[in-house]
């Protein structure tokens, strides 16, 4: 007599191209990390992961762009994958460079392994935030205000970030030597800094529905940390301009 388990037992997709890679990333993360550690088929794995990040981040970007609608859907769908992939490209060499200095010869990882690990962590995070898109749509469609939607988007990105960080740390823990953990911690800090700056540079993503014009990116007005510095100075009564411009003056 066949049991329910036998009836529902479906062969895993592992090995069947990009879908197989995503399937293994979701259902067999230890096996996936083992694949990276043994440098098995890293090139095709990396391609699949980049495609996964692009599609998943585009889905979430389109979702938050839908708050304003129109061209903002396309703009946000294009910009969010760029933010993730460019940040990964900038910070990956740091992991390899630091592990070369901090780890012993036998424990060093290659640039391909480090790139695969970072991409796999980001792909998992991107899949998580894409899966939370229906939640964002629900909040938007229930008439929530701009700032409420912002908070929901931030919470979704935090959930994706936690998933990414978890996989990244698990991948580093598989490597022998404390040097990898130290380099991983430094890379996480750098990723946050570079990611914040790149996100700020490519804004806006969530635009108010009453906005008449939607630029692809705003003019370079300074960085994320410049804005934090100005805000903290303003809170201490130190101002760099006479008054903030009114909305009509900015048009």
């Amino acid at each position: 007599m066949s049991t329910a388990r036998e009836l529902l037992n479906v062969e895993p997709l592992s090995g069947a191209g990009p879908l197989g890679t995503v399937d293994q990333l979701l259902r067999d993360r230890p096996g996936f990390l083992e694949r990276i550690a043994t440098e098995r088929d890293l090139a095709s794995t990396a391609r699949a992961l980049i495609l996964t990040i692009a599609v998943s981040a585009a889905i979430f970007g389109a979702t938050i762009g839908a708050y304003r609608g129109g061209t903002q859907i396309l703009f946000a769908a294009l910009k969010l994958p760029l933010v993730v992939l460019l940040t990964a490209g900038i910070t990956c060499p740091v992991l390899t460079g630091l592990s070369r200095v901090l780890a012993r010869d036998a424990e060093r990882s290659s640039l391909q392994q480090d790139l695969a690990l970072i991409l796999s962590a980001l792909a998992l995070g991107a899949i998580v935030i894409a899966s939370l898109s229906p939640l964002v749509l629900l909040v938007m469609s229930s008439g929530a205000g701009y700032h409420t939607v912002i908070l929901v988007v931030v919470a979704c990105c935090a959930a994706g970030g936690l998933a990414s960080a978890g996989l990244f740390v698990r991948g580093l823990l598989r490597r022998s030597g404390k040097g990898h953990l130290v380099s991983g911690a430094l890379v996480l800090v750098l990723f946050a800094i570079v990611g914040a700056q790149l996100t700020w540079t490519l804004r806006p993503y969530l635009v108010r529905p009453r906005a008449t014009e939607v630029p692809f990116v705003r003019a370079l007005e300074g960085g994320f940390f410049d804005a934090v510095h100005r805000s903290s100075a303003s809170s201490r009564g130190v101002f760099f301009r006479d008054e903030a411009p009114l909305p009509e003056e900015q048009r």
């Binding site: 900038i90 910070t91 060499p93 740091v94 460079g97 070369r100 200095v101 370079l220 940390f225 410049d226």
Partner: protein, 168 residues
């Protein structure tokens, strides 16, 4: 362990590789101030590292010898070269991030704000590498005297870096 395989085979390439990281870091420090300042700082930063190493490494050898923990002089020189190479590796790996952060900020002070911690990190890791190369295989490891020497190295590098950063 004290000498990188690249240095054994190709000393000129090793020297260029050792200078590449500080040159890249100097370029990032000069990025907001125009081409002349970019070239000037690209040249000054490697000179700072080499000059301070030249002045302080003999002192390290003397202090180690007085505490009966000194490896042979040639080992000290080779280890210092390998440690500079490690510093360069870290700076080279940080250069893209540094260039991006400095280039996308309108505040010229961003070069100092991001560049100095990056160079401090690379130098500290290079000093750590030097300590391991010198004393990992030895019974006696003069941690205190090496730490004091490292503070002197960092202080001299910081002082000279402050001079070139205050020019603008």
């Amino acid at each position: 362990m004290n000498v990188s395989p690249l240095a054994e085979r190709q000393p000129v390439r090793t020297l260029l590789f050792t200078l590449a990281g500080p040159v890249a870091a100097g370029a990032c420090l000069g990025l907001p101030f125009g081409a002349a300042e970019l070239i000037s700082r690209s040249a000054c930063v490697p000179v700072i590292f080499l000059a301070v190493a030249l002045v302080t490494v003999p002192a390290l050898y003397v202090v180690s010898a007085l505490s009966s923990a000194a490896p042979p002089a040639q080992v000290v020189l080779q280890s210092a070269g390998a440690a500079l190479e490690d510093t360069s590796v870290v700076l080279l790996s940080l250069a893209p991030a540094l260039a991006f952060l400095v280039g996308t900020s309108v505040d010229p002070e961003a070069a100092t704000r991001f560049g100095v911690p990056a160079m401090l990190l690379a130098t500290v890791l290079g000093l750590r590498s030097l300590y391991q190369r010198l004393y990992a295989d030895r019974q006696k490891r003069p941690l205190l005297s090496f730490t004091l020497w490292a503070c002197l190295f960092l202080g001299l590098c910081g002082r000279m870096l402050a001079l070139i950063l205050s020019d603008h």
